[in-house]
Amino acid sequence: MAAETVASPPVPPPKQPLYEASTQFRNWRYSPEQLSAIRASLNAAAVAVIRQTFEVEEPGSSSIVSFLTPDEELLLVKLYVTKITQLCGLFRFPEEVEATAITYLKRFYLRNTVMDWHPKNVMLTALFLATKTTNNPISLETYTTHIPKTAPSDVLDLEFLVAQSLGFEFAVWHAHRALWGLCLDIQNLPDCPSDTRELYDAALKHIRTSRLTDAELIYTPAQIALAALSLAAPELAHQWSISKMPPDAPHTSRLSAETLPSIMDAIKSLITSSGHPPNIDSVREVDRRLKLCKNPEKVVGSQAYLAKKAEQEKKAEEKRNKKAVAVEQAIADGDPFGNELAERRPGLVDYDDDDDD
């Protein structure tokens, strides 16, 4: 009977690449075309909804609004990526926090648009969340008192939305970690300088630059790390790739020798072409227009916001009433916890659920 166990001693299964089992690998990698398509469709959907809201408030009013384009949205997000870096410097947060917060911000805007949620508070929330998910927590009070014009509620109100937009997938694999491993590894190469710290620092600069781009949404951390090393020390990076992938190796490996050079070129040109902070004047212009075209339903206190809240409240009330009636009915039937009832209407025995908390 116990034969199966006997035949299989408790040895772990063969090592599967850990990164490939991660949520990042499975859920957060895109082609450049997919990224554009996602952003375009989020943008179009938001514009349609907001236009509609404007029309309800005042027919004809939406025609004069100049909505943001997907590229303009992206520009604004990019600005707030740079703000994360500034804040992390102020708080002296570790690199891990900074990189994670930036990833969260980018991922958030693959599920939402800046016309619904302004990146300022989303950025603050993403950073606060990242301090916790990387195990570097600070109190919300300390956090907000050090940031001008920021109240705890600016962060807390959005925390759930941000976590939800991330699909509660908090673990992030970073290129700077991969670079660390890579730098240990190149020390085995014959031409490697005895001290790789300078090399590491130079490559790390390129990785930091890459955070201003879409690289992490397209390429693996290992690929980005190698590209960064290649920008800092092309010859060593080349030697390392050859040592890992001899030209005669079976091309089953993902980082196959044939595709690697083109991937490296793509990442390097991405870093050099888009790895700079956005032009302040153009962002300011975008932000000014955003004030006029953001979704009024998301502006706390606005007419549309209040209307939406009231509608939600009405729905919840109806649900509660329906439930109360059902429970009363059940009690009248003399069998409030009846099996029969429980089977037929599972929701009814759930009097302890969270509708009212």
Partner: protein, 371 residues
């Protein structure tokens, strides 16, 4: 509705919440099921609004790690969704835990059973460590057992990554009786070896059926350890006297494990002693443990389905079955939920369940020809 809200609503619809089965420090746990398949699940509802710092660290750690870990011996997180200000974790439903099983005096453990639980624990732990995750709260109560006998490591509320060597970490982790000496001495730079110590003490507890090193305070914990295993020498554990909270504890002699674990095989004691080596760097790793001769020697580990099962859990089921027809006390709805599994740690086997377990025991002997 936003796309994000819509996706959440869809997720929520996949799961039906039934009755409350338990309560932890920061969550209420419900039994539930998958609407489409009827698969039984546990829904852990964490209230978020109540924390002034937002999402609580335990919840964040639990979600972060369980989202990434998929292994037969690690509890599976099936889904996460929100309802109002609550975070809901949908977990596989697990009937009992190793603490209940150990405490159930009506159960007899064979060496092959203990070997099976240890194998499953090390497999799950090896997987965590391979993913650079420290559990930091291993104890019998956090090793849950499924109805098919599979053991699952649960409760990742204290877990963290350890990819960064030389990274300072808190020593205030792991329930005292399962906490290794380096943490008791205040070490801030530790490794996966902390979890191995915990597994060692659980291993001993499975044989003794009572906690092996039940210290009464943190200070007493060290004394309890040294009384059992002898005071470490500088040679055995270089540098331990330099640890932040080091205090001399007096000299206790080493007594052979054999004196306490009289019935254990040589392999058993060898693996146990390697889990309880003072010097963390010399302690066995989960991977090495899986290759230890203990696991390949006779008797072979029991098949999970043949492991002793908890009788209190059967009793709890019986309770659930009558739930619908019996009005509990007369205090109204809230009471019902509190009766079932909520008190499972306290409940003792009923007479009825005792007869069942005897039947099981006979059954068990029948299926274990090696012993």
């Amino acid at each position: 509705m936003d796309a994000v809200e819509k996706a959440n609503a869809e997720r929520q619809k996949r799961w039906v919440k039934d009755q409350k089965v338990g309560e932890g420090t920061y969550a209420v746990v419900y039994r539930g099921r998958e609407a489409a398949t009827g698969r039984k699940v546990a829904i852990k509802k964490i209230k978020v609004g109540q924390f002034k710092d937002g999402l609580d660290m335990s919840a964040i750690r639990e979600v972060k790690y369980l989202r990434e870990l998929h292994h037969q011996n690690v509890i599976e997180l099936l889904d996460v969704f929100s309802s109002k200000t609550n975070l809901n974790l949908v977990l596989e439903f697990l009937d009992s835990d190793l603490e209940m099983i150990i405490k159930d005096r009506s159960l007899v453990f064979l060496p092959a059973d203990i070997k099976s639980w240890m194998a499953m624990t090390f497999r799950g732990l090896e997987f965590c460590h391979r993913n650079w995750i420290l559990h930091r709260d291993l104890k019998p109560n956090n090793l849950l057992v499924a109805s098919d006998g599979q053991l699952k490591i649960a409760d990742f509320g204290l877990a963290r990554d350890f990819a960064d060597p030389g990274y300072k970490m808190t020593c205030q982790v792991i329930t005292r009786w399962y906490r290794p000496p380096e943490l008791l001495f205040g070490s801030r730079y530790y490794s996966s070896a902390v979890d191995i110590w915990s597994v060692g003490t659980i291993f001993a507890e499975l044989m003794l059926r009572i906690p092996y090193l039940p210290g009464e305070s943190d200070m007493d914990q060290l004394k309890t350890i040294f009384r059992a295993l002898g005071t470490p020498t500088e040679e055995e554990w270089p540098g331990h006297t330099k640890l932040p909270d080091y205090v001399p504890m007096g000299l206790f002699p080493k007594t052979p494990l054999r004196d306490l674990f009289t019935a254990a095989s040589a392999d058993t004691l060898n693996l146990l002693s390697k889990c309880l080596i003072y010097e963390p760097r010399k302690r066995i790793t989960a991977r090495e443990a899986l290759h230890h001769s203990y696991f390949t020697a006779l008797p072979y580990p029991s098949h999970p389905s043949k492991l002793p099962k908890c009788t209190t859990q059967l009793a709890a089921h019986a309770l659930e079955e009558v739930d619908g027809n019996v009005t509990m006390d007369s205090t109204g709805p809230g009471v019902k939920a509190k009766n079932g599994r909520l008190k499972r740690k306290l409940s003792s086997p009923s007479d009825d369940s005792k007869t069942r377990s005897i039947a099981r025991r006979l059954d068990f002997t029948k299926h274990t020809p090696h012993s």
